[in-house]
């Protein structure tokens, strides 16, 4: 077995697993204090581990990408430059990524080209128009380009011609026809996302390369995507990393009806319905591999607030996280994890957040009292905490009628604490060797050697 290091990089925390090692080693780090490079260095120093294979999984939130990366240029048919922006409804909170937020209207360009609904070319690209477009792209200084032409799933000559010409000029081009299914809305969004992610992954890659040089490592690096492990330098796979964790859980957990309670995200298995068919990141290039796992409506950093008519309710908004997750009394408004920690204090979370649970509990209750109805005080606030937690679990599997307690298997690092509260056993049914699924980085290694 190759010496393998896996690294799962989430929003709040990173997880690392080493195999084979003299003992089972899994580590969890808070991102606010631990960059990926620092984690690798720590592993080298502490465990004298020199991996032959590095496995990566990035759990990136799309709203985080905003501002981290330059908006790409978009080339569409002339007359449809605004179509992607107009065609997407405002997504519900927490439901989907919003491709519109990645569009810079000044970077949308049209070309005179048209393919009809049977795949026949009605108008071909004009070379002088392409030259003019290249000049404009150079002028705005945009390296990544998304190309989406109508009916390119039937005939992609135009997109390929544009890609070849733009590649010659040094642009990185993502064509919508790389995605073989979906309508133009999904395909164009997929190309847009790929072009958005591209520069960010370039940054990740150059930082890692620098770390390898500093540490004297030369591992083969693979990234987990919706179509399995891909070479990290393979650009086409980058948009498919957006749902990689969902695919990882689907592959790793045998149960078809489960919840995974992770330290920073909760997931659940689900049956597809038309309400879930809209997100392009459900797709991957030349593949119709849709995960049957999604992020749950219940999330650990979900904020509690006064909702309609002053009723205390769970919002669809997750708390901020820079620097570090705003949980365990650190924020101004209570989160789900806050309320849960007041009734069940999972030890490892307390270590990870480096808080004294007594102090945190006091702060959380003070915050809760600020939004609670007037009949509650410190003496009876636990009644409200109990009701809110009970209500929160109704969010899990709510699109299956809230049939949560009856028949769902529980996994993940928080599963044990939650199962105690729910008086429900943690499931050990898993494809894994270990009986518990505690670390996503472990799942990465299992998936690699499976």
């Amino acid at each position: 077995m190759s010496r393998c290091l896996s690294l799962h990089v989430g929003e709040f925390f990173s997880e690392a697993s080493l195999r084979p090692a003299s003992e089972t080693i899994h580590l969890r780090f808070a991102n606010a204090r631990w960059s990926s490079e620092k984690i690798l260095s720590h592993i080298k120093v502490k465990f004298a581990f020199d991996p032959e294979v590095l496995l990566l999984n990035y759990d990136l939130k799309a709203d985080l990408l905003k501002g981290r990366t330059q908006a790409p240029a978009i080339i569409t048919n002339s007359g449809f430059e605004d179509w992607l922006k107009l065609s997407w409804p405002e997504p519900p909170n927490g439901a989907f990524f919003d491709p519109v937020s990645f569009i810079n209207p000044d970077f949308c360009f049209g070309v005179t080209q048209r393919v009809d609904a049977q795949g026949h070319v009605l108008e071909s690209l004009k070379s002088e128009e392409i030259e003019f477009l290249i000049a404009k792209l150079k002028m705005i200084g945009c390296r990544s380009v998304a190309v989406g032409l109508l009916n390119s799933h039937l005939n992609n000559e135009g997109e390929i011609e544009l890609r070849n010409r733009l590649n010659d000029e040094g642009f990185v081009v993502y064509c919508s026809s790389d995605l073989s299914i979906g309508s133009e809305k999904e395909r164009w969004s997929w190309a847009l996302l790929s072009a958005t992610l591209d520069p960010l992954f370039d940054v990740f890659k150059s930082r890692l390369d620098q770390s390898f040089t500093d540490l004297g490592w030369s591992p083969r690096v693979f990234i987990f995507t919706s179509v399995g492990f891909k070479d990290f330098s393979e650009k086409e796979a980058r948009a498919s990393t957006l749902l990689a964790t969902e695919h990882l859980l689907q592959q790793s957990i045998e149960s078809e009806n489960f919840c995974f309670f992770g330290v920073e995200s909760f997931y659940e298995s689900f049956q597809h319905s038309k309400n879930h068919l809209m997100a392009p990141w459900h797709f991957s290039p030349k593949n119709s591999n849709w995960p049957k796992v999604k992020k749950s409506l219940l999330q650990p950093s979900l904020l509690l607030a006064r909702g309609p008519y002053d009723i205390v309710t769970w919002t669809d908004i997750e708390a901020g996280f820079e620097p570090g997750p705003i949980c365990l009394g650190k924020g101004l408004r209570p989160t789900w994890l806050d309320i849960f920690s007041t009734v069940a204090s999972p030890e490892f979370l307390v270590d990870l957040y480096e808080v004294k649970i007594g102090d945190a509990r006091y702060r959380i209750r003070e915050q809760l009292l600020q939004i609670a109805p007037s009949e509650f005080s410190l003496k009876n606030i636990h009644e409200l905490e109990y009701a809110l937690l009970k209500e929160s679990f109704f969010r899990v599997a709510s699109d299956r009628g809230g049939a949560f307690l009856a028949n769902i298997d529980l996994y993940g690092p928080l599963a044990e604490a939650i199962s105690k509260w729910l008086k429900k056993p943690v499931s050990s049914r898993s494809r894994l060797n270990s009986s518990k699924v505690e670390f996503l980085s472990d799942l990465l290694i299992e998936a690699f050697f499976r």
Binding site: G79, F80, E81, D82, W83, K85, L86, S87, W88, P89, D116, A117, L150, N151, H153, S183, E184, K185, N275, L297, G307, P308, Y309, D310, I311, V312, T313, W314, P373, L384, A387, K390, E391, F394, R395, S398, D399, G401, G402
Partner: protein
């Protein structure tokens, strides 16, 4: 059990449903959620009318779409069911669930409501387990009935049964000890919530008068008191072109109020108890049978909600004048004989003192989703030439009006084109020195001819190769800006 958790649970169950209401045995609103403004009036009026006239038993279902029985337009049907929350057959344990089902709209330039579609008054259609197929088939057989009526209604009845079962369980858990006391506590909580909402409304009176045509106007006196909000439309005239029903008007008033307060579009009886509507019979806001309704529910609702929004702003800042928002949904239809394509093009909203107008703002548009161009072209014999933002259609100003949209379509087969735009004013007026927004427009180019601008509504048989351009209006701009942009 905490009464407020019942509300949160129901909200979660119906997270993916956008228009429904739940009424108790007395017809009081336990929960009402709206997608479009008029829903707040229609969903409740339909439920109450069905309860009053049909006296449904538990598990029985009724269907209705008649606008003059509380419904919306004729492509919008309501399924109403009665269910029981507990084993005991007490009146207190009976509840009514109303769900809206929107079929693909048809655009018919009609002079009488019955020419717009099949009109169904409250009609029992069996039980959850045994829907009355004879009645459902009879409705489906009407020449103006929506396509696939039977199969869609049967699916919806099945879903309604599941929903009623879930809500029934939820209510059973909550009402277990004392239903009467629980429902009393429930309404008390919302009364307090509405009190808090009203605390944020400045007391006073705001009056507006907006034109409805050359000789009539919409007159509204909004009287905000600590305990009530009165919408008095006395003096409002009628329009030849369109109008809305009083139940739709009530819905628009409530939705506009909630939107102005930045509140989610969800409510209970406590808010209905505070709203007083005075809508003269036969006027624009309470039109009578047999007036057609479709344009009223599309363009009329958008116009009324714009008028209400500007009235609310006047309450907050008495000196304020609002720039016009586009209100015509620019509905159009292409009838190819064996297939019918319906679409609309949304207008831009007006600039305001707080910020610019929105592009193609869905001001209570019928649909939120824009279907795929490729999918439309694969189904219908037509080709889109453009779908874009209508450049320079928003009025300029310190805060410019939102732009409208352009859709240009080429016909690949002969088709009957029907369109219906509204434009009550020569210009979509800007305010405080802002410029006017561009009015809506439809232009047709027949093969081998020049472009021809068309009247605001009409129907034409067009040959293959014709090109239709539909331009929705832009909103008016707010605030004076000179040519240098100062």
């Amino acid at each position: 059990m905490n009464p407020s958790s019942l509300f949160n649970h129901i909200d979660l169950i119906f997270r993916l449903n956008h228009s429904l209401s739940l009424l108790d045995s007395q017809g009081q609103v336990i929960f009402c959620k709206a997608q479009r403004a008029e829903d707040f009036g229609n969903l409740v009026a339909v439920g109450q009318n069905v309860n009053q006239y049909l006296k449904l038993l538990p598990s029985e279902v009724a269907v209705v779409n008649d606008p003059y029985s509380g419904g919306s337009h004729l492509s919008c049907f309501y399924l109403v069911c009665r269910f029981q929350s507990g084993a005991q057959k007490q009146q207190m344990n009976y509840f009514t669930l109303v769900k809206k089902i929107l079929f693909k709209p048809r655009l018919r330039l009609a002079a009488h409501i019955d020419e717009e579609g099949v009109r169904v008054p409250p009609t029992p259609i069996g039980t959850f387990k045994e829907p009355n197929l004879l009645v459902i088939k009879a409705i489906a057989a009407h020449p103006l009935a929506p396509a696939k009526f039977e199969s869609i209604i049967l699916n919806e009845i099945e879903q309604l049964c599941k929903d009623a079962h879930l809500v029934g369980q939820l209510l059973r858990d909550h009402l277990r000890e004392s239903p009467q006391a629980f429902l009393k506590d429930y309404s008390q909580i919302f009364r307090q919530g509405v009190n808090t909402l009203f605390d944020r409304v400045p007391d006073g009176i705001a009056e507006i008068q907006w034109p409805l045509g050359p000789s009539s106007s919409l007159q509204l006196k909004l009287n905000a008191q600590p305990k009530s909000l009165t919408f008095d439309f006395s003096g409002t005239g009628s329009m030849d072109e369109f109008g809305i029903t009083d139940s739709a008007c009530l819905g628009v008033c409530i939705a506009s109020f909630l939107r102005w307060m930045g509140h989610p579009l969800v409510t209970t009886q406590a808010l209905y108890d505070r709203i007083i509507l005075i809508a003269p019979k036969g006027s624009f806001v309470n039109q009578s049978f047999p007036q057609p309704i479709f344009r009223g529910i599309t363009d009329g609702v958008a116009y009324l909600s714009f008028c209400l929004a500007s009235t609310f702003e006047k309450l907050r800042q008495p000196g304020i004048a609002a720039a016009f928002s586009g209100y015509s949904q620019c509905s159009f239809e292409l009838d190819f004989g064996d297939q019918v394509f319906f679409d609309h093009v949304l207008p831009g909203s007006g600039g305001q003192s707080q910020g610019p107008g929105e592009v193609g703002a869905a001001n209570w548009g019928l649909y939120q989703l824009q279907p795929s161009v490729e999918e439309i072209e694969a189904i219908y014999p037509m080709r889109f030439k453009t779908i874009n933002i209508r450049k320079n259609s928003g009025g300029s100003g310190v805060h410019p009006g939102g732009a409208g949209q352009d859709k240009t379509i080429e016909l690949l087969r002969d088709a009957r084109f029907t369109w219906s735009f509204s434009h009550l004013h020569p210009k979509l007026r800007g305010s405080d020195g802002g410029r006017h927004g561009a009015p809506p427009e439809v232009v047709i180019t027949l093969p081998g001819t020049k472009k021809q601008s068309q009247p605001l509504s009409g129907t034409l048989q067009l040959p293959v190769g014709s090109v239709i351009s539909v331009h929705s209006s832009g909103g008016g701009g707010w605030g004076f800006q000179d040519t240098a942009g100062n």
